[in-house]
């Protein structure tokens, strides 16, 4: 009961604030929560939203998948081979410090207006965090565990698979979660700013037609989508790291 109160109160407060903003109204044609929900069900019914979602997820899977497949091994390599780590981290730090959106014109120039462009931007948004976390995870490996394994005659390969990778796992998983939220950010930024595809396109079209309820519905949908994806990843993380519960 108390838990539900704790969880429900912010939601109710948020809806109330939203309703109030629509009443005032804050701006022309500001949709109420109810209007937004109606628009959402319409968009879902017409199939427009699902189609846009499928398109967006395509670039997300492509971009985030590549970031995962490249970022994790690269981070591990950086952690194991010191020289690689020292050189690569400079560039990754730059990528993190740089407002990633500034790279968008360059990406369009290189890849044209296509789903691939969105995927590349998603990749650029997420890969530095995934890589740096894997790198940090390797560097967090307790030397004592390495020593223990060596005392039993562990080969280099066994040290890597049995000590280094499991030691880095918590940080790798945290990096993937961070990378995924960055990937959603990259997705929307890419679709709003450059490639007329997917959810971003839907948002832009409804805006230009003054269908603000539909626009809000799409934004809300995107929010739910990323929330669900992150929650799934968090669930996987807890499962894999259940030894930490203690």
């Amino acid at each position: 009961m108390k838990r539900w109160l704790l969880r429900g109160t912010p939601l109710v407060a948020f809806l109330a604030l939203w309703q109030w903003a629509a009443w005032v109204p804050v701006s022309f044609n500001f949709p109420t929560p109810w209007q937004t929900l109606v628009a959402l069900s319409e968009l879902l019914g017409s199939g427009a939203l699902l189609q846009a979602t499928a398109t967006s997820l395509q670039s997300l899977v492509l971009g985030f998948g590549a970031a995962m497949v490249i970022g994790v091994p690269l981070g591990l390599l950086m952690g194991v081979v010191r020289g690689v780590g020292r050189v690569a981290r400079v560039y990754l730090d730059l990528l993190i410090a740089l407002p990633s959106a500034a790279l968008i014109p360059l990406v369009i120039l290189s890849f044209g207006i296509s789903i691939v462009s969105s995927a590349v931007i998603i990749f650029v948004f997420s890969v530095p965090f995934i890589t740096m976390n894997a790198y940090g995870g390797v560097r967090d490996t307790r030397p004592r565990l390495v020593e223990m394994a060596r005392s039993f005659g562990a080969s280099w390969g066994k040290l890597f698979t049995r000590i280094v990778v499991p030691s880095a796992a918590p940080m790798i998983l945290a990096g993937l979660r961070l990378g995924l939220s960055r990937a959603f950010l990259g997705l929307i930024v890419a679709e709003l700013l450059l490639s007329p595809f997917g959810l971003g396109k839907l948002i832009m079209i409804s805006r230009s037609m003054f269908e603000h309820d539909k626009m809000f519905a799409t934004v809300l949908w995107t929010l739910v989508l990323s929330g669900v994806a992150l929650a799934v990843l968090a669930r996987v993380e807890t499962r894999l790291l259940r030894w930490r519960a203690g």
């Binding site: 565990l145 039993f152 005659g153 499991p166 790291l241 030894w243 203690g246």
Partner: protein
């Protein structure tokens, strides 16, 4: 492997950069002997233990464990027990106990059987098997560390201040359990400790190392009767006298 083996440490020196850690160490550990190494902090007793295990390469001299000259880590004669237990936090007690066998490529069934047996020897049979280290007390974690060392059935146990980070009551229980294990299993033990009582209570002989650079300062025989865990040796006058003798040696060395 059957039967304990001796250890010969002959003329071993070790330097770390500008720091001379060990100079010309000569120690012969008899097969089945319980030897304690004691000395002020920084005297290189842990370094010496690591040299015997092969984790640290000595600059000069040689170390022979059984019939094998130590050239690197991974020798099958000896297992290490660590002060901070060095358990894998992501593995259960049983998986930790199996780890040495896993690294040596033993088949799964054999690993599990040996780990179960070793855990039983250290008093951790049953439900503790599936507990993670974070769910175990310090004393129990060190029991797992000991089980991991025993599971590979070594002839020599190299123990690096194994009970230093465990509370006094638990430490005494673990010390008694170690004595019982030692007399059952007949292993050669080299124990690094900074506790004079522990050195006297457990060992046949205490080797005192001098402060940096570490040299063998003296050896003290401990002729206390065994089994000490059953005889309440700690309460005896002879025990107190030996602890005091060891203290006098250490005090004069400062």
């Amino acid at each position: 492997m059957t039967g304990p083996v001796g250890i010969a440490i002959e003329g071993v020196s070790k330097r770390f950069g500008a720091v001379q850690a060990l100079v010309d160490i000569d120690i012969h550990v008899k097969a089945g002997e319980f030897l304690a190494l004691i000395g002020p902090s920084g005297c290189g007793k842990t370094t010496l233990l690591k040299c015997v295990s092969g984790l640290v390469a000595a600059d000069g001299g040689r170390i022979v464990v059984g019939s094998r000259t130590v050239t690197g880590p991974g020798g099958r004669e000896a297992s290490l027990v660590f002060q901070d237990f060095a358990l894998l936090p992501w593995a259960t007690a049983r998986e930790n106990a199996e780890f040495g066998l896993l690294l040596r490529g033993a088949p799964a069934a054999e690993r599990t059987a040996a780990a179960r047996q070793a855990l039983a020897k250290v008093g951790l049979a049953g439900s503790f098997e599936d507990a993670y280290p974070s769910q175990l007390s310090g004393g129990m974690q060190q029991r797992v560390g000991l089980a991991r060392a025993l599971a590979v059935n070594p002839q020599v146990l190299l123990m690096d201040e194994p009970f230093a980070s465990i509370d006094e009551q638990t430490r005494r229980i673990l010390q008694d359990d170690l004595l019982r294990l030692w007399s059952d299993e007949r292993k050669t033990v080299v124990l690094v400790t900074h506790s004079m009582e522990e050195a006297i209570y457990l060992s046949d002989r205490v080797v005192v190392l001098s402060p940096r650079p570490g040299r063998v300062h003296r050896a003290l025989d401990v002729p206390l009767p065994r089994p000490r865990e059953a005889l309440d040796v700690r309460a005896s006058a002879e025990f107190a006298r030996l602890v005091d003798e060891l203290w006098q040696i250490l005090k004069k060395m400062q």
